[in-house]
Subunit: 264 residues, 2 copies
């Protein structure tokens, strides 16, 4: 599949750079080069696209591209942005870093709201990519790149992106931590943790359909002190490390439903 | 569709009783009667199946069935079980209540690990139903009822069911509370909360594929203090009620990944 969008330089070789690189390549967009701090990572990812590899201090000399994607850790972004060659649009992929400002270079943000783990193949189909650009034209081009890989471009200011990043942490990192807690409980009960899968899917679907307040169920919502106490006993006997989690989340639910109960 | 399984009496007319009743009826299993504390609820649900309705103190006189399902609140179960007519198997659907013991009546537990909200239609296809019976024969029959509605019967002792119930709370009630927190953050940022949906689905799929420890990402895992601090600032400015949630979950992730970091 051909594509009129110009080639991309990837700065970074981790989960985000790999996933975006794969998606661009599949959409027929050329990957011109891959940079990583380490030679091994740069060559590994570049090899998948037949792209040039750069590493260490070899970056910033001569790899202009239509779009340079800085997909590194937040702390490395500033350093790397300062070394980007002129010649195209330069973006980073961070949810919590402001729009970059570079002299005489059009810049932007290309933030996919998704969780990336190196080595895991992932589709970007339907994934929201939050777009910000130093000009309206840059935003249009970034939206074209997002649409080319099947993603859903959404304009978002740096301020909104702060909220998005926090939502991502709560909706992914914290949900995953809860799933880790489920694994611990399952292990104590000698159960398969995956038995909760249909429950998880219905929890999300119900939330989409009716919102969290109407979807809430369980002993904390009902203020069923007897059941809450039985859970506390189980946790203190077998999994005391999970008690703060249990108390904090139960309290959050109790508070969210205190008014409804007082009204009833 | 006909079915050789005998008719069911429903004791309760809430989310669980409605969902099980619908599923039984669709599988060709007769619904003989519906009991609720209030006449309105009993007649409403019984009307959907052409079943007899009982309410208030009218229960326990003359409604024998092959299977009597007590799907009431945990606190009402004991009272209702004591009033059940002889003639078939009597089960409750509670995750946190022991196997009932009734003189001369075969008893069991029929606990679907799912979240039910009255008025919401839900498929029980593939949903695990945890089965316990006063005899092996009872367990076989309960498994037949579960399979007839497309669910997945799994034998589980009362002790294991305590763990299952707690897993259900963490994987459903607590996940829903996190989704409620996402709604609050989205509202502050004037964003659509549903943009996190692809992220949620990938979070669950990644957990299924590689487990919570390998799937974990985010600032707490990386101990990225700068990002954690920016989130804390945002929360203290706009959503201070969510600070305990943020601290507790971040701490849980930090602890789960402390060893990996120390090893690295």
């Amino acid at each position: 599949m051909g594509n009129s969008l110009g080639p991309v330089a990837l700065v970074g070789a981790g989960g985000v750079a790999s996933a975006l690189g794969e998606a661009f390549a599949q959409a027929g967009i050329g990957i011109a080069s891959v940079y990583s701090r380490t030679r091994e990572h740069a060559e590994l990812l570049a090899g998948r696209f037949g792209a040039e590899a750069f590493w260490g201090n070899g970056f910033g000399v001569n790899q202009p591209a239509a779009l340079t994607v800085v997909a590194s850790t937040d702390t490395a972004i500033v350093d790397l942005l300062g070394r980007v060659a002129e010649g195209g649009i330069v973006v980073h992929t961070s949810g919590s870093t402001s729009l970059p400002t570079l002299p005489a270079v059009p810049t932007g943000v290309f933030y996919p709201l998704q969780t990336f783990t190196l080595g895991r193949r992932i589709s970007l189909e339907g994934v929201p990519i939050f777009i910000e650009g130093s000009t309206r034209k840059v935003e249009q081009i970034l939206s074209d790149y997002a649409r080319a890989i099947g993603a859903r471009p959404i304009p978002a200011s740096s301020s909104k992106r702060r909220h998005l990043h926090l939502m991502g942490v709560v909706g992914c990192n914290f949900v995953n931590a809860l799933l880790g807690a489920c694994e611990q409980i399952a292990q104590c009960g000698e159960l398969d943790p995956h038995v909760i899968t249909p429950l998880l899917h219905e929890t999300i679907q119900k939330w989409l359909d009716i919102g969290a307040h109407a979807a809430q169920t369980g002993p904390a919502k009902r203020r069923d002190e007897f059941t809450l106490m039985r859970h506390r006993v189980l946790l203190s006997e077998e999994l005391p490390d999970l008690i703060p989690l249990y108390e904090t989340l139960s309290e959050l639910i109790v508070r969210a439903h205190a008014e409804a109960r007082d009204e009833a």
